[in-house]
Every structure is written in structure tokens, then in C-alpha cells.
């Protein structure tokens, strides 16, 4: 990479991120999370949050409908498997294009309003998509059962090529286990790179300026709507990509992926990690998916073992209380943490890290001008 095209800080961040993603199987070992299935989800939801942040983090438009694009991506990918081929590339392309078109239509309408009205419009569109996927669109979505692969699928391209086999591949390489993980990791790195370029571009600065003061943008000669629409479509394409990846790791698409509470989840990820930063949303996605995985597996037996060092009576009380927060109750913990974050740390984990950092080196730096103007990314 030519240094004229990318600044040193951005390059370092990108390299650091790439290494962290590729080395996941190593550094996640101590956390007990280094298995492909979970790491794939880290990558998928990382991309989802990364894309959501391009809209919400940069322009400030809070969408509660992004799960619709995620769901559309999944359906498109499964249809690509059914009709064309089990190869992943057409599925991804197809999903991103369809999700992008879908986002273009919904964004075009929704962006005619701003603020809370925009949020409600996206919410209404997402609920419409969800309800339709369950009812009239059953021929496309297969309703409650969800869209699945069957032996009767035509798979025209595969048939022409004489390829058989019933699971997703990449140029003939099956995407099981680690192959699947590295495939997803590669996409996450590409997605991160693009998001980084967008954030650091004049276009990205316009998006931030829209968030900061839309009136001034108008009086400065900008037509803000196409900017916001472009951000909306890009983030919709990210969501579609993530949805398609989920369908590749598990070729099944269901309407529940489109429900508005699923949109809420990506909002949680973005806020938890740090809205408006590059790394934050990815981090938020990882943390939520990690704890969802770990906490969901906790049951009373494990808790009793964990708290076995306590006196019996106390142990029972502690176990009863904590059991409400893990396993089935994991969402309770998530909700509480989320409320605390919004109240005390609106910048999420990234802001927390920055505060700690500043606090740690405050004595050494008096009147130091900040070298970079952007919030740490």
C-alpha cells in the first residue's frame, strides 16, 4: 500500500485489525471461543455492525430496520444456492445487490424524514417485510419453516458444470470448519478496509458533517439527501453481505432474522462497542456474540460448581440470583449493560478505553495538542 493513499495511522490500524482477526484461533483459545462456528459468527456480525455504523455512526440516522436487509441477504443467498450453484461467490454478489436495491427503495422513502420519524419509518418497513415474509411471500420465503435446500433444487450452473454436493463451497473448496472461518475473516477484513476508506474520505467527512449540523450543510451548498441515501444503501449492502454469510455457514433462512428486535441487536452492538468509531462496533458484536454463547451455556450445575467455595446457604442464594442473569436470562444482563452504557458511557467501550488511556497518561502530557483530529478509530 502506497503511503500517499493511506495515512500511517490508518495503515497501522488496518494491519493491527487484520492480524487480530486472522489470529483469532490463537488468542481466543484462553477464552474458550476458538472454534470455527463461533468465530464465523464474530466475523458475520462484525460486518453487520460495521455497516450499521456507516449509517448511524457517521450520519446519526438511527435505523431500526436493518435486520430486513440482513434477512433479504440470507434469502437471496439461499436462492442462489437453490437456483444457480453451491458456490459462495454468486450467492454473496446476488445477496449484496438485492439488499442494496432493497435499501435503495426503503432508504429513498425513509430519508424524506429525519429524527424519530426516520426511525419509525424504518421500523415500519422492517415490520412490513417481516410480516410479508411470514404470510404472502411464503413462495419465496417458505414462511415459518424457513427457506432450505432440497434435493430437488435445480442448481442450473452446478448441473451444467457437472458439480454435485450439497454444501456451500468456494471454487470447489468446501467451507467447513476453519476454511469457513478464514473465508468469513477475509470478508471481514475487506469490509473493514472499505469502511475505513469511507470514514477517512471526503464523503465520510460529509456524513459526519450531516450528523453534526444538517442546516449548515444545506447553507454550505450540499444536497444532504443523496449523501444520507448513499450511506443507507452501503450499510444495507453490508447487512446483506452479513446475511448471506450466515446463509453460507448454515444454508437456511428464516423470517425471524428480519424482526425489528433483531435490528435492535445490531444497535446494541454498535452502541456497546462505540458508535462512530471503526473498531468499536466490531468489538461490540464480538462481545455480544461471545457472551451470548458463553452465558447461554451456563446452567445451575455450572453455577454451583463456580460458587462451590461459598458456604452452602450463601451459595444457594448466589446461584439463584446469578442464574437469572445467565442462560435463558442472558438478555437481561445484556439489557442492563446496555442501559448502563447509554447512561454513563455513551461512547461505548471505545470511549471507556480512551478515558482510561487519558487518565493513565494525563500527568505526563500538559497542554499536548492532539495529533489526530478524529476520535480514535
Amino acid at each position: 500500500m502506497n503511503t500517499a493513499l493511506i495515512s500511517r495511522n490508518d495503515l497501522l490500524l488496518f494491519l493491527g485489525f487484520t492480524i487480530a482477526v486472522l489470529a483469532m484461533p490463537i488468542w481466543l483459545q484462553p477464552f474458550g471461543a476458538a472454534y470455527p462456528d463461533l468465530m464465523q459468527r464474530f466475523a458475520i456480525y462484525g460486518i453487520f455492525a460495521l455497516g450499521f455504523n456507516i449509517l448511524f455512526g457517521l450520519t446519526g440516522y438511527l435505523s431500526f430496520g436493518h435486520a430486513a436487509f440482513f434477512g433479504v441477504g440470507s434469502y437471496a443467498a439461499v436462492w442462489s444456492f437453490k437456483l444457480l450453484t453451491m458456490d459462495a461467490v454468486p450467492a454473496l454478489v446476488f445477496a449484496v445487490v438485492i439488499a442494496g436495491l432493497f435499501a435503495l427503495v426503503i432508504g429513498y422513502v425513509s430519508l424524506r424524514r429525519s429524527g424519530i420519524y426516520f426511525s419509525i419509518l424504518t421500523l415500519a418497513f422492517a415490520q412490513m417485510s417481516y410480516n410479508l415474509a411470514y404470510s404472502v411471500l411464503t413462495p419465496i420465503t417458505n414462511g415459518e419453516t424457513g427457506l432450505q435446500l432440497t434435493l430437488a433444487d435445480p442448481r442450473h450452473l452446478d448441473r451444467m458444470m457437472g458439480v454435485t454436493g450439497g454444501s456451500p463451497t468456494l471454487f470447489g473448496q468446501p467451507l467447513f470448519g476453519y476454511a469457513g472461518f478464514y473465508f468469513c475473516a477475509g470478508l471481514l477484513i475487506v469490509a473493514f478496509f472499505i469502511a475505513q476508506r469511507i470514514t477517512g474520505s471526503p464523503f465520510g467527512m460529509m456524513l459526519k458533517a450531516i450528523k453534526s449540523n444538517q442546516t449548515r450543510m444545506h447553507y454550505t451548498g450540499f444536497n444532504t439527501r443523496p449523501y444520507a441515501l448513499a450511506a443507507f444503501v452501503i450499510s444495507g449492502m453490508y447487512a446483506g453481505l452479513a446475511g448471506a454469510m450466515l446463509a453460507i455457514t448454515d444454508p437456511l433462512a428464516g423470517a425471524e432474522r428480519m424482526q425489528w428486535t433483531a435490528s435492535g441487536e445490531v444497535v446494541l452492538m454498535t452502541i456497546l462497542g462505540g458508535v462512530g468509531t471503526l473498531v468499536g462496533p466490531v468489538l461490540g458484536a464480538w462481545i455480544i456474540k461471545y457472551f451470548e454463547n458463553i452465558f447461554s451455556a451456563f446452567n445451575e450445575g455450572i453455577l454451583h460448581r463456580t460458587f462451590a467455595f461459598l458456604p452452602d446457604g450463601v451459595e444457594d442464594v448466589v446461584v439463584t440470583v446469578t442464574s437469572k442473569f445467565v442462560g435463558e436470562g442472558w438478555h437481561l444482563t445484556l439489557g442492563l449493560v446496555f442501559v448502563l452504557i447509554v447512561v454513563f458511557l455513551p461512547g461505548g467501550i471505545m470511549e471507556g478505553v480512551r478515558r482510561l488511556f487519558n487518565w493513565a497518561r494525563r500527568p505526563a502530557s500538559v497542554g499536548r495538542a492532539s495529533p489526530r483530529t478524529q476520535p480514535a478509530e
Binding site: P202, Y219, T373
Partner: protein, 253 residues
């Protein structure tokens, strides 16, 4: 009326729910001149400015700039035509740095109302950056270029907003009380700055309370009271006009 009229406000009326905010406004501003609009509070000065920049649609009449009808155009289109505005309370990008605040209008001037340039980096925009730094040096904010604009003092925000307008090299600059809330020293600095721009031949319409500012800058003055222009002319003539004294100077002071 001379040929080099660049802004013509033609017979503009504005009603708000039956209330006449502006009536029979006819105003001509010549190229390169500084035209001041004065008048007591509630005279309709800000309404007039809002009609010119397209924020409000006039109930009747039209605003014509260099042969183009502005009425009915959106604020961003009017800016692209070459009209920039400084607000009474600074409209800036508080979350961005001072440098970026000033680079954004420059990019608007170069790239137009929309451009999907997302694969360039900001760092590669060296020409725009240099231009922004020069303007910031002009208004005395160069050493604060990496500060977030929201952290500036009120006076500095105004000066930065002025820089944001100047970098676009607008053909017409509208200033809504550019020195309100400034210290005497800052006011004088701003006056010097505006005089300097004048020497570059930029047309300006200025709304101002401070008579010191008005008489140091204006080539022509229109006096607005009760939504009508009650007097117009050279500063000295307006100063001596008894109607003006009664409606404005005498009444207010």
C-alpha cells in the same frame, strides 16, 4: 438604477398567519457594495434574509440574483449559485475540527452539491487543506485548527463561520449581526477583516444593530421598520433622516 445591480429583491411580501412580516420590499444591491439593513427589533430583518437564502418562501414577489430567480430554490442550490450566509447564532459543525469545518465548504465549491468520492482520502486533498489553512490564518484561528469547533468561544465560532463562508469566495455574502455578542476588540478585528474582503470586491448584505459597525462598513443603508423599508440611501443621508431617527435611532436610544 444602475446596470450592475447583482441582487434585486422585487416587491416581496411575507405573511405569517395574516401578520405582515414584510411588505413591499424593494431592494437593489450593486456589485461590490456593502449594503446594510438596519432597523429596530422585529422589523423583519432576519425574515428578509431568510427569504433571500431560500429558507422562507415569500408570499409574493421574487428575489433575483444576477438574472436568476432565487425564489423557489432550495438553500443548497442558492449557495451553489454563490451566496453564502453567516447566521446570527453560529451554524457550524461542532463535532468536527476547525480545519475540517473550513474544508467542507471548500469541497462544496469544488465538488458541487453531491459527489460520491469515498475512495479518496482527506489527507490527499492537499490543495483544499492549504486553502483552508490560509483562510484560518486570515481570521486568526490557524493555531486552533485541530480543536473541535464546539469547544471554541462564541467570538471564535463566529470568525470560523465567517471563514467557512469566505473560503467559498461567494459572490454575495449575507451577514446576520456578525458582531453580536463580541467584545469591542473582537468587533474591531472583524470590521478590519470585512474591510479587507471588501477590497476583494465581494458584495455583502449585512444586518447589524451596532451603528459603529454599520457606519464603518456600509456603502448604502436601508432602514426597515414594521416590515417596510422606510428609508434608503448613503450612510450620511440615512443618519440625518428624521424618519429614521424617529423609528430607530431616537426610539431605541
Amino acid at each position: 438604477m444602475t446596470d450592475n445591480v447583482v441582487l434585486h429583491v422585487a416587491d416581496v411580501h411575507k405573511n405569517f398567519a395574516g401578520l405582515h412580516a414584510l411588505s413591499d420590499i424593494d431592494l437593489s444591491v450593486e456589485e461590490g457594495q456593502t449594503h446594510a439593513i438596519i432597523g429596530p427589533n422585529g422589523a423583519g430583518k432576519s425574515t428578509l434574509l431568510n427569504v433571500i437564502v431560500g429558507r422562507l418562501a415569500p408570499s409574493r414577489g421574487a428575489v433575483i440574483f444576477d438574472g436568476m430567480v432565487l425564489t423557489g430554490r432550495k438553500p443548497y442550490e442558492i449557495n451553489q449559485i454563490g451566496i453564502a450566509r453567516v447566521f446570527q447564532t453560529p451554524e457550524i459543525f461542532p463535532d468536527l475540527t476547525v480545519l475540517h469545518n473550513v474544508m467542507i465548504p471548500a469541497l462544496s465549491k469544488r465538488d458541487g452539491p453531491f459527489r460520491l468520492n469515498m475512495m479518496r482520502t482527506l489527507d490527499s486533498e492537499t490543495a483544499i487543506r492549504q486553502e483552508a489553512e490560509d483562510i484560518l490564518a486570515d481570521v486568526g484561528l490557524h493555531e486552533r485548527r485541530t480543536t473541535h469547533a464546539g469547544a471554541l468561544s462564541r467570538g471564535d465560532k463566529r470568525r470560523m463561520e465567517l471563514a467557512m463562508c469566505l473560503i467559498q469566495k461567494p459572490r454575495l455574502l449575507l451577514l446576520d449581526e456578525p458582531t453580536a455578542g463580541m467584545s469591542r476588540h473582537d468587533t474591531n478585528t472583524t470590521i478590519e477583516l470585512l474591510k479587507k474582503i471588501k477590497s476583494r470586491g465581494m458584495t455583502k448584505v449585512i444586518i447589524e444593530h451596532d451603528m459603529h459597525v454599520v457606519f464603518s462598513l456600509a456603502d448604502r443603508i436601508s432602514v426597515l421598520a414594521g416590515g417596510r423599508i422606510i428609508a434608503e440611501g448613503l450612510p450620511d443621508a440615512v443618519r440625518g433622516d428624521p424618519r429614521v431617527r424617529e423609528a430607530y435611532l431616537g426610539g431605541a436610544h
